[in-house]
């Protein structure tokens, strides 16, 4: 069967049984009534689903976030937005197809929507570079964001990337600089910005379009400083420790929300977005609209101040001024307010 995840096996097994019973060729002919059995299995299926999906480990969620049937960024753009007008190119080097963007409407709001796009098949994945953008992608994103800023269009970024592309050309054209500039410039854009991690939030490649007034994350998406595989091979010297690394890095939506590192968790249909893509798109749309409405009520000065303060407060450390007195100071110390 296509793309089944290990932990989904009991569910798939029950589904198979259910299908068999329903389609049993002798059932009608012999006048057998299988309704009781069907009902029992349906009940068990529902229970198993609830059980499996409510106790997902970090690594299982990463697998869901990477599920090839999961809606990708263009699915969200086509499903939740209307009238998408795609814009191309960074005006410097190329058009990076791993980063898409353009004008669109969200329930009548004219916005700029930008995101990293993965491919469904080999051909599309080559075009999209598996969702990993080159420097051109980040520069194209910034060009579109500046355009939006100039004409007062709110910006919505949708993030689904394993990370920025680690390649020779990417280094030669300074991918680190492209990301860094985005981090700096996004802090000063006067229009509302919402970022939503819809699948993989792979490190700097995700953050490169992720500096926003509101950062949302889908229930089964993850956002991490390093891939669980990378962490496992560096710290454990063992790729087999990937699940452990995923756990240790605290990368799930729920954990990030608990730390205050994201603003909201967007619910997914039971079993993950790949089980009901249309529903997943609708659920994200609802959240985007809520946050967009809230942000549009604020003045741009307030938004800028709050955006800065939000990122400013991230960090856990302690300051022991007298040796021995271990006073934990979870949030950042008082900081001079930045004029907007």
């Amino acid at each position: 069967m296509r793309h089944q995840l290990d932990f989904e096996k009991p569910i798939i097994e029950l589904r198979r049984k259910l299908d068999e019973l329903k389609k049993h060729p002798d059932a009608h002919a012999l006048g057998l009534n299988l309704e009781v059995e069907i009902e029992q299995i349906e009940k068990r299926l529902e229970e198993t689903r609830c059980q499996v999906y409510s106790e997902l480990t970090a690594w299982q969620r990463v697998q869901i976030a990477r599920h090839p049937k999961r809606p990708f960024v263009l699915d969200y753009i086509r499903g939740a937005f209307t009238g998408f007008v795609e814009l191309h190119g960074d005006r410097l080097f190329a058009d990076d197809r791993a980063m898409v963007g353009g004008f669109a409407q969200l329930n009548g709001h004219r916005v700029m929507v930008i995101g990293t796009q993965k491919g469904r098949d080999t051909k599309e994945n080559i075009l999209r570079n598996f969702g990993s953008a080159h420097p051109e992608g980040y520069r194209k994103a910034l060009r579109l964001m500046r355009l939006a800023d100039k004409f007062g269009l709110p910006i919505i970024t949708l993030i689904d990337t394993a990370g920025a592309y680690p390649g020779i050309g990417a280094e030669e054209r300074h991918i680190a600089e492209a990301i860094a500039v985005n981090l700096r410039e996004m802090m000063l854009l006067e229009v509302p910005i919402i970022a939503a991690v819809v699948g993989e939030g792979g490190s700097g490649g995700a953050l490169g379009i992720g500096v926003a007034d509101r950062v949302l994350i889908l229930e089964n998406a993850y956002y991490s400083v390093i891939s669980p595989e990378g962490c496992a091979s560096i710290l454990w010297k063992d790729r087999a420790a990937t699940a452990k690394a995923a756990e240790a890095l605290k990368i799930t939506a729920k954990e990030l929300k608990a730390f205050g590192l994201v603003d909201a968790v967007v619910p997914e249909p039971l079993g993950g977005a790949h089980n009901d893509p249309a529903d997943a798109v609708a659920l994200l749309k609802v959240q985007l609209l809520i946050h967009l409405d809230e942000l549009q009520k604020l003045s741009s000065g307030d938004r800028l101040r709050m955006r800065y303060q939000k990122f400013r407060a991230f960090g856990l450390f302690q300051e022991n001024n007298a040796p021995g007195s271990e006073v934990a100071q979870p949030e950042a110390a008082p900081t001079p307010a930045q004029p907007a």
Partner: protein
């Protein structure tokens, strides 16, 4: 002279280094006790002996090497240098006021790896005498009063966690408030894994602070030293009005092994070195360590820094 009142208690491994800058290098030998490499490089070799240059294999006497700011006298190879030594090589005597000297990391994630993060921190604090991977403060470089942040690779690979991000952000904010030029000397393997997403967010935090510093038209010079990569390179290290690199420094986003594994391609010669990046247009100039101070002074002149006003302030 300047050393005694400020001696920190260290762990018997090395003489404490002064919190305030000792005299510059030319009379350093007379006044200073020999500073030591913060890392473990020399620990196996008896004191006061010889170092072999990894590039030209010349044997270099410790004192000569220190006097030359850890640059090989024969071939110009730049040995690693600690943050304290680097600060001493740049700012004027006793002019450096360190900020947030006692800020330390906490194990926010309760990171359960092969060893715990807390143990790791403790052992690095012992071996380096540092609290974390950056020293920040305000000091004077010739006539310029400036905000200076210097990273130290010997502390957990110069990785950026909450402390590095917070100390640099406070430094940048102080520079913004006081209208000071900013110099950050980077060396880092990137964001610190043990602090997970808190580390990644330091990239946005520091870059955001730089946005406001830039908006006040204040100069920022980023100096890249061996090695500067990943999360640090993808944030403040790339954002200088000027980007200066030390010769031979390895600079990049992804590690060469990762790139090789991903692309299955041969890497071009000199890939990700300072010289390669000069050719590819990222950095403004390559400056040897011994000329760094003079070059910084010279360029700050062009970056709208009013020498007299700052001297008066200082």
């Amino acid at each position: 002279m300047a050393t005694t009142p400020f001696i920190k208690k260290t762990l018997g491994l090395e003489t404490a280094e002064p919190a305030v800058t000792p005299p510059p290098h030319n009379n350093a030998e007379k006044v200073l006790k020999k500073p030591k490499l913060a890392g473990g490089r020399k620990r196996d070799i008896p004191e006061g002996l010889w170092n072999k240059c990894p590039k030209c294999s010349t044997l270099l006497y410790d004192k000569d090497l220190d006097a030359n700011r850890k640059v090989c006298i024969r071939c110009g190879y730049h040995f690693p240098i600690s943050a304290r030594e680097r600060i001493n090589s740049l700012v004027e005597t006793c002019s450096f006021e360190e900020m947030d000297a006692n800020m330390t990391s906490v194990d926010a994630l309760q990171f359960t790896g092969v060893t715990s993060y807390s143990n790791k921190l403790e052992s690095y604090q012992k071996s380096t005498g540092l609290k974390d991977a950056v020293i920040t403060g305000i000091g004077r470089l010739a006539d310029y009063r400036l905000a200076l942040g210097v990273m130290d690779f010997s502390f957990l690979g110069g990785s950026m966690g909450s402390v590095v991000g917070e100390k640099l952000t406070r430094l940048i904010e102080a520079a913004t408030d006081k209208g000071l030029p900013l110099v950050i000397i980077s060396t880092s393997g990137g964001a610190r894994m043990y602090e997970g997403m808190f580390s990644l967010m330091q990239m946005a935090k520091t870059s955001g602070a730089l946005a406001y510093h830039a908006r006040k038209k204040l100069p920022y010079v980023s100096v890249l030293t061996h090695p500067t990569t990943a999360g640090v390179m993808a944030s403040y290290a790339s954002l200088g009005d000027l980007i200066i690199a030390e010769p031979g420094a390895m600079i990049g986003f992804a590690g060469p092994r990762v790139i090789k594994d991903t692309t299955q391609a041969e890497l071009p010669p000199g890939f990700q070195t300072a010289e390669f990046l000069l050719d590819h247009g990222l950095i403004d100039m390559i400056v040897p360590r011994n000329e760094m101070k003079a070059v910084l002074c010279n360029v700050l002149d062009y970056l709208g820094v009013d020498r007299k006003r700052l001297a008066a302030l200082g």
